[in-house]
Each structure stands twice: as structure tokens, then as C-alpha cells.
Symmetry: C2
Subunit: 331 residues, 2 copies
């Protein structure tokens, strides 16, 4: 039985959404046991609405939570917050993994203080699983913002950890790994990027693709893309922005020209399919790779589907024993 | 009469495309005189196909050119290349501006050696004019890759120069300027970005918006976005990639579901409209802001429309005397 601590507080849409997602998802997995962490009244009223078999969960009541506007310091100040308590359950091995949709900065700080980093990893990285233009092909991108800066060791660490994750969880046989850069040639980028290129190229464990430009992040050319958190975050947000603006523009163009309302409804379905495919929020949360525990961050604005996706990713990670594989593999 | 040196060599699609664009564009402006720089035979055979009134142009024959795979060193080695000769015409004030679709790195190096930087500007910046989601609103983004790094002075210089450009060429009264960053809050980003935030905020000449996230680059929220060339390049390419992937995906979705071929043709027009609106290549080239001369870079893969757009932007820059205004304004 896999045990997952689910911090249902602190995300944008309230705890009800998290409970609804859990109630739907748990029906799909017989091997999952949930520990809901947060305000007991809220969780219980959620469970009245979206019932779950009583043998499949428990509630860990906490007196406070860290909200989106909270600071890193809240990890120290709010010892009975749902985030801190969830991380402690994981630290104490009372659960196999934890999920939160709360404050990212607090989550990173809390993971550092409570879980600690794996040997040899100085800076963990947020790693979302991204959909690509190639059907059924997923790409892992990291870091997307756990740390703004990264040195050579960090990037090599990201590559090694993601390599193991891709093999073990996504079942990719020989994952192709690229460095995000402003040009494909070996000579492109900053001094640091040129050094990283050489290291990745020389590393026998790594199936190195070379540099990949930001325009190809979702092209499905590679299995893993490594970069610093600043660049990863910026690129992901640019993609997000472009998608939103383009979809709106295309809708406007089509609706105003040739379509009746009835046809517009049919169109809407097609657009929603595309939106879903490329909205990384609907695919999964991001794992914080490099800390000593399976800790997932759901997007702060997660809806039911997003939380379900994060639960799915979390179960896949536990089931494939990815943390122990990474521990063994990085040294 | 505005005189523009047009280096027609070195772009991906050959000189014929450049000559065609010139022949079309020159009919729209009576005050333009062109100096075609490059291989005389190619230019003349282009002019046979796309005729231009003989009083409106001359040809400066050159024996060589710098191709896309050329290096920065070619600026020194190929003294009779079309790019070097065009820059020299500008340096010697024989023309008011120059345009090239050739090798970017060589163009930046050549501008540095031949034109030199404006007083107080250490690193020039490539500045494209971007379409936005808001009709008729354009946003200037710089640097998009002339230099990978930028310090505080560079970014403040970009802001000041773009401010003058926006007022003078785009006729924006009080341009709103933002810093590209991974979050909107003042406390976000690197140490350097926090320092830049303070400087921009304190600068009385600058109407500072604050930080802008990459997802909002084309949202039309601001008139000018400043950033280092690495980040600007990465974000622009992410946008480009997202657009391409999304458009393909939407087309595939729509075509496979409900539409007949006839309707697909109608749809195609709508898609093309959107593509054109958001493809920055179809809007203009990028001016190299901060060198002592009006020097425009057309995209290497420019088609006729792109070159026409670059010619238009170049004429607008000359007509509004933007270089002298910048020279006066930045000190």
C-alpha cells in the first residue's frame, strides 16, 4: 500500500478541489492510502460531498497553513502548518511521498530544512513532465525555478537524476538529454554553457543530444532538457503566454468570420483538446528532484484534473521506486 | 531623399528576394533612394525581373560576401564583402541607413568596428518591434541577442534609447517600460535584476511599469521590455516555438474532425491572418540600437514581406531622425 500525505491547504482554489481530486483518483488505484493534512472541518465537509472509503484515508489535523503570500520564514514560524507537517510525515517515513499545491518558495525551503538534499546534490530542481507535439512523447524539463542559478555540478546532477527518472518512471530506454541554449552549435551560449556542453558530451552515462533551442522545448525531439531555473522558468512562461494569446486570437478570427454559434461550439471542443494537450498544468505537477523524499508540487492554481494528474505522477514515482534508484545512481 | 544601403547578399533565400522586396517597397515611398550592395550580376538579373526606376537606385559591386556560416573574423578578412561595404557607406555618411539580412554575429562585430558605439553605450542591443494581442499596439523588446550578458548600465541604456525610439518612431506619448523577470514582485529575480528594478524605478525619465513575466511579452501591457540578450533571445524563441507547434496542432485537430476540404481552405485564411499577426518576422527586422548609425538586421530567413517590413522600419527611423534624438537624449 502506498501512503501519500496530501497537503490540501494553501492552493488558490481551496481544499475542496483537492478533496474532490483525491476522491476521484483513489478509485483508480487500489494500492493508495491518503493522509489528508490540513483543516479538519474543511476536509470533512469536502469528504461529505466527495466520499472516500473510510479504510483508505486518515486526516492529520493542523492548526495553520502557509498561504500564497507567505514567506520562506513561515517554514520556521508555522511549525503546525499543513506543509511542514506533510514534509515531516515524509521525513519520518510515515508516508512514501507528499504533495502540496501551496507556496513554492516555502515548499523549497521546507524541503531543504526538513528533508535535506541527496548526497552530491547542492541545489534541487523542479521538474515538470511536459507534453510534446509528438503523440505520447513526454519531455522532462529542469530546473524550472527552484533555484535561479546553477553551476556545472547542478546541471550534471539534473541530467543524471532526470535520466534515472525517465528510465524508471517514463520507461524510456535510453533517454536523449539536451542542454537548453540560444543556439544549437557547440560554440553557442555563455562560458558556463560551453563548459556544461563538454561535460555532458564526455559523460558516458548520458546520451547527449547537444544544445536545444527554446523554440523546440515542446517539439518532442528529446526526452530531457536541462537548464538553470531562471531560464527554465522564463521559457516555460513564454510558452504559456504564447499559447494563451494564440488560442484567443485564433478563436476570435474564426468566430468573427465564418462560423455560426453552433459550429463555434464544435470548434470549442477541438480547441479544448489542444489546450489540454499543451497545458502542462493538466499533465502533472513538478517533482522537486534532488531532495531526500518524493515531494511533488501541484500548481497553485490547480483544478481537479491537475491535482489528479499530480496524484498519478506521485503514485508512478513511488511504484517505480525512483528515489532509491536515484540515490544509487547519482554516486 | 533618404538613402539606404541594402546588402542583398548573405541571407538564406538569395538576393532575388531582397530585390523583389525593394522593387515593391520603393513604389510606396517617393523619398527613398537605394544603394544595392552585392554581386552585380545577381542584382541586375533581379532588376530585370522586378524593375525599378533607374533614377531611384545604384549598385555598389562587391567581390565577396559573408555567409551564414561565416565567422566574426570575416569582418576583418572580407573587406570587400557586401556587409562591410554597406557599413562603410553608413560610416562615411554616404547613406542614411543600412540593412542586411546576413550573418548576425558578423553584423554585430562589423557595426562595432566600423560604426562604433554611441557615447555611454558599451553594448548595443538588437531591438525588434513586436506585434501584441492588443490591436495596433506594438512592443519593443531588447536586447534579443546582440550580447548574451548585460550589466545595469546596459539595461538603463536600453531603456533610455528605446524610450526615445518609441516616442519618436512609434509616436507613443509616454512609453511604459518593463523589466523582463521571472515574477512581477520587486523582490523577484537575480541580484542584478533587483538592482536594475531600483534604478529604473528611480529614473525620472522612465515611466516604469515594474517587472513583466515572459508569458506577457506579447500581451500588449507595455511599450518597451528590457532584458539581457540571453533572456530576450530565449523568450522570443520560446514564443516562436509555441506558436508553430500550437498552430500545427490546432490545424490537425480541426481538419481531422469536422471539416471538409473546402471549409479547410477558408480556415487556412484565418490561420494565416493569425500567423502573420504574431510572426515577428513579418513585422520588421531588428535595429541594432546603440551603434553610431541606423543599422537594421532583417531576419536571415526573410521573405519578400519581411524585407519590405524592414525597409519600412528603416525609412521610419530615418524620417524621424531617431539617431540624433537618441544621441542627444542619452547623455
Amino acid at each position: 500500500m502506498y501512503k501519500v500525505a496530501f497537503d490540501v491547504m494553501g492552493a488558490d482554489n481551496g481544499s475542496l478541489v483537492a478533496v474532490e481530486a483525491a476522491s476521484k483518483f483513489i478509485k483508480t488505484r487500489k494500492d493508495l492510502y491518503l493522509v489528508f493534512v490540513g483543516n479538519k472541518n474543511e476536509i470533512e465537509s469536502g469528504l461529505k460531498k466527495f466520499s472516500i472509503d473510510e479504510s483508505r484515508y486518515e486526516i492529520l489535523e493542523t492548526s495553520e497553513f502557509i498561504d500564497m503570500n507567505g514567506s520562506i520564514m513561515d517554514i520556521r514560524r508555522k511549525r503546525d502548518s499543513s506543509m511542514v507537517r506533510s514534509l515531516e510525515l515524509l521525513k519520518d517515513k510515515k508516508v512514501d511521498a507528499m504533495i502540496t499545491g501551496g507556496n513554492s518558495a516555502a515548499f523549497i525551503a521546507g524541503s531543504h530544512f526538513i528533508l535535506g538534499e541527496l548526497p552530491g546534490i547542492a541545489r534541487p530542481g523542479f521538474m515538470p513532465t511536459l507534453p510534446t507535439a509528438v503523440d505520447n512523447k513526454l519531455t522532462l524539463l529542469l530546473d524550472v525555478g527552484a533555484n535561479l542559478e546553477a553551476d556545472i555540478e547542478d546541471i550534471i546532477g539534473y541530467a543524471k537524476m532526470a535520466n534515472i527518472y525517465s528510465k524508471s518512471v517514463l520507461k524510456v530506454k535510453n533517454p536523449v538529454i539536451a542542454q537548453l541554449n540560444i543556439g544549437e552549435e557547440k560554440s553557442k551560449g555563455t562560458l558556463l554553457q560551453k563548459e556544461i556542453y563538454k561535460e555532458l558530451e564526455a559523460n558516458e552515462e548520458i546520451n547527449f543530444f547537444g544544445n536545444l533551442e527554446a523554440r523546440d522545448i515542446l517539439a518532442g525531439k528529446v526526452d530531457i532538457i536541462v537548464t538553470d531555473g531562471y531560464t527554465g522558468n522564463m521559457s516555460l512562461k513564454a510558452f504559456e503566454g504564447a499559447s494563451k494569446i494564440l488560442m484567443n486570437e485564433i478563436k476570435a478570427q474564426l468566430y468573427k468570420t465564418i462560423f455560426t454559434k453552433l459550429k463555434a461550439l464544435t470548434l470549442k471542443k477541438s480547441f479544448n483538446n489542444v489546450s489540454k494537450k499543451f497545458d502542462y498544468k493538466n499533465h502533472s505537477g513538478a517533482i522537486l528532484l534532488g531532495v531526500d523524499g518524493i515531494a511533488f508540487k501541484a500548481h497553485g492554481s490547480s483544478d481537479v484534473k491537475s491535482f489528479e494528474a499530480t496524484l498519478r505522477m506521485t503514485c508512478n514515482a513511488i511504484e517505480n521506486d525512483v528515489l532509491n534508484k536515484i540515490k544509487k545512481g547519482i554516486n
